[in-house]
């Protein structure tokens, strides 16, 4: 699995101002708070249901994302990951969870932002390597089940969209 995206959803999005992530992400660059080479902050808080505020990195992006009207922490792996499918997924999930925990504790979000522990969206951002079809599902399902043990997996079957699975724990 390559170019994995992990999205962790906010519990009460109404309390959160997207633009508050701008100073946070600039600080993360100053302190190298998350793994990878961090380059800049892109602000799309003016776009409805958009990418929100994005911390642009070389190996990965981190964002407070508002796509599809669901606020969350989005981790997007850009560079090649070297492990097998389950390893790559586990790494991406761990990195996203660590970033989410960090964000929750930033002064701008303290008491306002908490991420749900029971749901995660996994997206594979490459239509050629991972087309949104049954073959991809068959190929990646074992890794998804191994890493997201105890979650119910629902695939977004819209063929125009990226391969995406919403994992929810009962």
């Amino acid at each position: 699995m390559q170019h994995i995206h992990i999205k962790l959803f906010a519990e009460s999005p109404a309390a959160v101002r997207l633009a508050d992530a701008i100073p946070v992400f600039h600080r993360w660059i100053q302190t190298s708070a998350v793994p990878g080479l961090l380059i800049d902050v892109a602000d799309y808080s003016h776009v409805i249901n958009g990418p929100g505020v994005v911390l642009i990195g070389h190996e990965a992006y981190y964002s407070l994302d508002a796509a599809k009207g669901r606020l969350g922490l989005l981790y997007q792996r850009k560079a090649k990951a070297d492990g097998d499918a389950a390893e790559n997924l586990r790494d991406a999930l761990k990195t996203a969870q660590a970033a989410a925990a960090l964000l929750e504790h930033e002064p701008e979000f303290a008491g306002k932002l908490r991420f749900r522990q029971d749901q995660v969206a996994v997206t594979l951002n490459d239509r050629l390597l991972h087309p949104n079809n049954d073959e991809t599902w068959a190929a990646v399902e074992p890794a998804l089940r191994a890493v997201l043990d105890g979650y119910t997996l629902v695939r977004n079957e819209n063929p125009r969209e990226l391969f995406e699975v919403l994992a929810t724990r009962a």
């Binding site: 808080s45 776009v47 990418p51 642009i56 050629l128």
Partner: protein, 746 residues
């Protein structure tokens, strides 16, 4: 960098027009050559710029994080894609959209590319292009292939080339146009794309078409070549303007011809390109735009030279063979909307964003995009809307919006609902809240202040404080550039701003120079007055002050331009005097950081711009192309295609010889025999090609390759030929370098 990059070529085989496919293959090979150090970084920079692959802020590997300037530690720190531009640093991909015309499939592909290679956003520019940011250079061939498969090229989107040809988004449906200029803009773009006469400019060349003199849809008078539709005695033609341009010092275009018959359009454009290539400044990029040439020569002399060139041009059948653009037609029958629905926001939206077409019962709808941005999901949603309500008749606009043409008026409520579901139902198109801004410090290397940050802030505040509700204020336009280069077109706005910096007690504070009273109508009829620099954080107060004074003091229906002219520059300056003050850093540090960027402000992040590209002479390009051919010969040999390898190796030598002949302005027939003969006579017999040590040996390789060009070769022989071709091309480079020290024969 995408792991799927090696596979797109195969996946899209047969779906890309052959010419575009080979263009992209060439570029991919050039990337491979640069990776192995076989192309000079300057040549590669111009090569990628000509394909729309632009640099981005911080690509020199340096960024101030608010505390200190830090090195961005990319793995391949020694590899560059241009002078002072690191290979791995993300860049911007500009995508040319001639006349702004798009269809639904193209929107879907743009959505995929924004999602897979960029940061999820597609950005519409002030010249109807689309831009994607944060793209890795090694991803660009895949991006280009996926675009080419749906009929879009990025070729000549940047660099010293003919840039996107722009035109009225209302062409064909406008109530005021003389005729639809779309087909002419299209043909002009196609004709000049890759044309040999447009490859040796010292600077970019911008062209625009307008259907009428008055409306501000195409801004022809800020272009190098601007054409306004006219009909005389039932015949179509253009009023032609030349030498316009914004930049540091704006130049109004000059009237070149009152009436140019349409059949003369392409030959005139070609002749103008030849004169610009021949006489335009090449060394000093700051004086290389066409506007400087027109001024230097004087309009009359410029005109004489262009017409003389025109008269000497050999006839090209394409001049009078218009490309057939598919005729636009509506999807649904035209029907008037009898009663506005009670949906909140619909009536305001309809009044701002809906234009009644001259075809009864039809409207053109503007989708107002905040700062020109839209998401992948919104692009897909718009594609669906374009299929459901119109026959995919979509255009981008110079106000960084998108229009849908041929909407049956009775569909407007349903269309509004569909746009609302996508978050694209904002009203205010073409009003004070519809602010135009260049990328500024967000992504541009030359940015001084945050134009997009300011635009976002003003948009929000104007909507909140109700100022935009006053009709006189509502009609005004705001345009913002991050620096004096005017990409945000601040000179032609009612209220224009461009980024500057000021120091106070050792601290730099972001400012904007205020430019008032520019004229957006009459195709950008006149430029505004700069009245003083105001701290960035006080620009919203400045806008409130100026607009309030205008509402209070204007005489009857006096326009904003007339008001500013009447009260004069001194009074304007006085009006904002107190707002120009900056409190000391210790009193209010917020003045020392920019909008939506909390870092302490610095100019340290500015880099060297690439707007103009490197000035690379035609021979540099031609010799680089020869090296690429020799490289492709190697690839063919690797695939055991011996005859192709030999053919490519021989052609690389032939093209090297031709490049030298062209450079020395030694006329020749374009047949291989004639090239060899002329090369022998001018370079071999005279010994000017001779290497100080090897003498004429490398030229002999070429002559031998020519003699044996039709013989079948074995693998070993082909291999040797490739080696000889490489040596011959090296010798061409040396010869060029040696002779450059002597004046070329004119």
């Amino acid at each position: 960098m995408k792991q799927s990059n090696p596979h797109w070529k195969e996946r899209l085989a047969g779906q890309i027009p052959p010419l575009l496919a080979s263009e992209i293959d060439i570029f991919e090979n050039e990337i491979a050559l640069r990776l192995t150090g076989k192309i000079d970084e300057k040549v590669f920079a111009e090569t990628r710029l000509r394909r729309g692959a632009y640099g981005q802020r911080y690509d020199n590997g340096q960024r101030n994080d608010g505390i200190e300037a830090r090195k961005l530690a990319y793995g391949r720190a020694d590899l560059t894609k241009g002078p002072n531009t690191l290979w791995d640093a993300p860049g911007m991909q500009r995508i040319k959209i001639p006349f702004g015309g798009l269809n639904a499939t193209q929107l879907e592909v743009l959505a995929e590319l924004a999602e897979e290679y960029s940061d999820g956003i597609a950005h519409i520019t002030t010249r109807q292009d689309v831009q994607l940011h944060f793209i890795h250079i090694e991803d660009t061939p895949s991006v280009m292939r996926r675009l080419a498969a749906v009929g879009i090229t990025t070729r000549e989107a940047c660099g010293n080339t003919v840039r996107n040809v722009t035109s009225c988004p209302l062409g064909g449906v406008c109530r005021d146009e003389a005729f639809d200029v779309t087909p002419y803009a299209h043909d002009c773009a196609q004709f000049l794309l890759g044309h040999p006469d447009t490859q040796d400019f010292g600077r970019k060349f911008k062209i625009a078409f307008s259907g009428c003199e008055t409306n501000p849809c195409a801004l022809v008078r800020i272009h190098d070549l601007g054409c306004v539709a006219q009909v005389r005695d039932g015949k179509r033609g253009f009023k032609v303007y030349v030498g316009g341009g914004l930049g540091t010092v704006p130049y109004q275009a000059k009237l070149f011809d009152e009436f140019l018959p349409v059949e003369e359009l392409l030959p005139l454009a070609q002749a103008m390109a030849r004169v610009f290539a021949r006489l335009g400044e090449k060394k000093n990029r700051n004086a290389a735009r066409m506007k400087f040439l027109v001024v230097k020569l004087g309009l009359e002399e410029f005109k004489r030279l262009v017409l003389e060139e025109r008269a000497a041009l050999p006839t090209d059948p394409r001049w009078t063979t218009p490309a057939v653009l598919p005729e636009e037609s509506p999807l649904h029958p035209g029907a008037l909307l009898q009663i506005d629905p009670a949906t909140p926001g619909f009536t305001t939206w309809k009044s701002d964003n809906v234009y009644q077409q001259r075809q009864e019962g039809y409207a053109t709808v503007t989708v107002a995009l905040p700062l020109g941005d839209l998401t992948a999901d919104q692009l897909r949603g718009l594609a669906d809307i374009a299929r459901a309500y119109v026959k995919e008749t979509i255009r981008t606009t110079v106000e960084q919006n998108i229009v849908l043409r041929w909407v049956s008026e009775s569909d407007l409520p349903a269309l509004y609902d569909a746009l609302s579901a996508l978050g694209l139902n904002a009203a205010g198109a073409g009003t004070i809240v519809d602010i135009t801004a260049c990328p500024g410090t967000d992504t541009c290397k030359l940015g001084i202040s945050s134009s997009r940050g300011l635009a976002g802030e003003l948009r929000e505040r104007l909507a909140e404080n109700g100022a935009a509700a006053d009709d006189a204020i509502r009609q005004l336009r705001i345009k913002i550039s991050g620096c004096f280069n005017s990409c945000g077109q601040h000179h032609i706005a009612d209220l224009g701003f461009y980024g500057v910096s000021r120091n106070k007690s050792g601290f730099a504070a972001p400012h904007f120079q205020v430019v008032l009273g520019g004229q957006w109508t009459e195709n950008a009829g006149s430029y505004g007055l700069a009245i003083g620099a105001v701290p960035s954080k006080r620009i919203p107060a400045t806008v409130t002050r100026i607009t309030a004074r205008y509402v209070q003091e204007r005489q009857s229906s006096e326009t904003f331009q007339a008001y500013i002219r009447r009260i004069g520059k001194a009074e304007c300056k006085l009006m904002i005097q107190d707002l120009t003050e900056v409190p000391p850093y210790t009193t209010d540090p917020s003045f020392y950081s920019d909008w939506h960027d909390p870092r302490v402000f610095t100019l340290g992040d500015m880099g060297i711009g690439e707007c103009a590209g490197e000035v690379i002479s035609a021979i540099d390009f031609q010799l680089t192309a020869c090296e690429r051919e020799a490289f492709e010969a190697q690839l063919a040999l690797e695939k055991k295609d011996v005859s192709q390898a030999a053919k490519l190796a021989y052609e690389s030598m032939l093209h090297g010889a031709a490049a030298l002949l062209t450079w020395r302005k030694l006329g020749y027939d374009h047949t291989p025999d004639a090239i060899v003969e002329r090369f022998r006579e001018q370079f071999f017999d005279t010994q000017v090609f001779f290497d100080p040590f090897a003498g004429g040996k490398f030229a002999q390789y070429f002559f031998r390759a020519h003699e044996r060009r039709n013989e079948a070769r074995g693998e070993e022989s082909a291999h040797r030929l490739i080696e000889e071709a490489q040596l011959f091309i090296e010798a061409c480079h040396s010869c060029y370098a040696r002779l450059s020290l002597q004046p070329a024969k004119v």
